[in-house]
């Protein structure tokens, strides 16, 4: 970004709550059903129907509010937001206009530069619209109302993000959080999480916000980043060449990584909000909120701290483990069997994660039991086998078969040789076999020690204890 300008970005994220049924009626919310099969008279907006609020959706919204350090509104009601669109059967969307269930709050992110709290303006409950499909018929648009009425929370930040990197980190953190507290599956491809970005630029030091452009319905975190970068650059070019930025609603073209206008002149929106007379208001008690708070799992921010303080892990390791709840729980399960916490973290972040990635799976489907991993680490610490043999030879088997690591190591004849007499033979062989290199080493090319150790390792088929080999070699080559 050119040094003269700074960008101001605000994000609105719609997250589909993973309730079984819709916000105001009992239709299923399952994704991918046959069109127009998850519908009822209420979803279709027929007259004379009476909607009724889903209690679990309220609880989920509160969970998110607590996880984001928000104030929870005790006196809530729903309002009608009136506008016409074919996929909105009632002619209004039921939303929370004046009383968002959660106010203020923040989500902490870590960028390459700093740790920062991204301030939230509000989180409110609302219903989703149906789906319009434009490419089936030349002359008609098709409407599927399965999604209409699905519960959403809309999470709105203050205009406080400064670049696409912060937006990327914020969305990554947000997605992790909704999955962590199990209120949304976070699946952006299926639209469970959708993001609108409001972007403007201004001269550094300027207090007033510039004219903003809104990029709608971004369906991946990477696309949000790309759309923001594209818009900022475009806006700077417009201003630098003497033009003015016009307020626009845009869409992102994934084929070209550019944005295009879908509405040029922003019509003054007039949604004529009013309290929905069909829906009784809902009042919350401190006690109820307290109950929900105590049902929440420990959150990543807390766990990252505790992993550093109680388990003495590095900040990097702690954050890696807290990438998702399953991984960190796996760590805790292993840590209750083996106190070598650093080794557990290394295994989980290193070879095990690698193995799972290569197999195209994740910790959710891991076969290896924590107590087997604990036993594996123990035989390494006892010097019975070394790490690299354990990672390359034992792990691939242990990831598929339930077998004691020591038994496996014995059956594969991989138990480390740690007695001097045996290792001495291999060391002598290597020294005799490489007279030139030995001479160079003696002249001062000490880096060659690695070569000798590697050679012994080869001859011992990886069973020679590398520490002992190094010591013996160093002594003999003095």
């Amino acid at each position: 970004m050119s040094g003269k300008y700074e960008a101001v970005i605000g994000l609105e994220v719609h997250a589909q709550l993973q309730t079984l049924s819709k916000l105001f009626c009992g239709d299923s919310t399952t994704f991918g059903a046959e069109p127009n099969t998850h519908v009822s008279a209420i979803t279709l907006g027929h007259p004379g129907t009476l909607p009724k609020t889903n209690k679990l959706a309220i609880e989920y919204a509160i969970k998110m509010g607590i996880a984001c350090n928000c104030e929870i509104e005790l006196h809530n009601y729903f309002a009608r937001k009136n506008y016409f669109y074919p996929d909105l059967p009632k002619g209004y969307q039921i939303s929370q206009h004046t009383t968002p269930i959660c106010k203020n709050g923040y989500i902490t992110i870590t960028t390459s530069v700093e740790e920062k709290n991204i301030l939230l303006n509000r989180i409110h409950l609302e219903e989703d619209a149906g789906k319009s499909i434009h490419d089936i018929y030349e002359d008609a648009t098709c409407v599927d109302l399965n999604r209409a009425g699905t519960p959403l929370i809309e999470i709105v930040t203050e205009p406080c993000l400064q670049n696409s990197d912060e937006a990327y980190q914020y969305l990554t953190e947000l997605r992790k959080l909704v999955r962590w507290i199990e209120i949304c599956d976070g699946n952006m491809e299926e639209g469970s999480l959708r993001c609108d970005a409001n972007i403007s630029i201004r001269l550094k030091g300027e207090k007033k916000l510039g004219t903003r452009v809104e990029v709608k319905n971004l369906n991946s975190i990477r696309n949000v980043k790309k759309a923001i970068d594209f818009e900022i650059e475009r806006m700077i070019n417009v201003v630098e060449s003497g033009g003015t930025i016009t307020q626009q609603t845009k869409s992102f073209d994934t084929a070209t990584d550019t944005t295009f206008a879908i509405r040029d002149k922003e019509e003054a929106n007039d949604y004529r909000y009013f309290a929905d007379p069909d829906l009784a208001p809902f009042h919350l008690t401190e006690n109820f909120i307290q109950q929900i708070q105590s049902s929440l799992p420990a959150l990543p921010q807390q766990l990252i701290k505790s992993l550093q303080e109680k388990y003495l892990l590095s900040e990097y390791d702690a954050k890696q483990l807290c990438d998702d709840k399953v991984t960190v729980n796996y760590f805790f399960a292993t840590a209750s069997e083996n106190k070598n916490y650093k080794a557990i973290a290394n295994w989980l972040i290193g070879p095990i994660k690698q193995y799972l990635n290569d197999e195209g799976t994740s910790f959710e489907n891991i076969f290896l039991q924590p107590k087997i991993l604990a036993a594996l680490i123990q035989i390494i610490d006892e010097g019975k086998i070394n790490f690299s043999v354990a990672a390359t030879k034992l792990l691939p088997v242990l990831m598929k078969e339930n077998i004691e690591p020591l038994v496996l190591a014995e059956s594969l004849n991989l138990i480390q040789v740690s007695n001097v007499a045996d290792i001495d033979i291999w060391v002598n062989e290597v020294i005799t076999a490489m007279p030139d290199k030995v001479a160079e080493y003696k002249k001062g090319k000490k880096g060659l020690i690695g070569l000798f150790v590697g050679e012994v390792k080869k001859r011992s088929k990886g069973k020679a204890d590398p520490k002992l080999v190094t010591t013996l070699l160093e002594e003999k080559l003095k």
């Binding site: 239709d27 299923s28 009724k52 018929y137 008609a140 599927d144 009784a280 809902f282």
Partner: protein, 96 residues
């Protein structure tokens, strides 16, 4: 309150209705009467009174998260003005 032609046009647009000149004048007269009727309420002093948003006392009328009450697709499409048996069909909304 004075109802202007502009207000009528704006309301008509928001409601996706079209009025000719004659209808506009007639609607305007009707609206003025209705508003004047409701404006009588302005005589009441409401200082310090919370707005009444709901007519009843009911609060927390909630349901458990259970799947029930859906109808089948044939029933759902029964009142559609146009359908292909799978979707509701409406005039093309966007131009490609």
């Amino acid at each position: 309150m004075q109802v202007t032609n502009e207000m009528i046009n704006n309301l008509a647009h928001l409601s996706r209705l079209n009025f000719n000149e004659e209808q506009t004048q007639s609607i305007k007269a009707d609206l003025e009467k209705m508003i004047a009727f409701v404006e009588q309420l302005n005589e009441v002093n409401t200082t310090g009174v919370e707005p009444l948003l709901h007519m009843g006392d009911a609060v927390n009328v909630l349901r458990e998260d259970e799947i029930k009450g859906s109808i089948n697709r044939n029933e759902a499409l029964l009142n559609a003005s146009d359908t292909d048996g799978v979707f509701f069909k409406v005039p093309k909304v966007i131009k490609k």
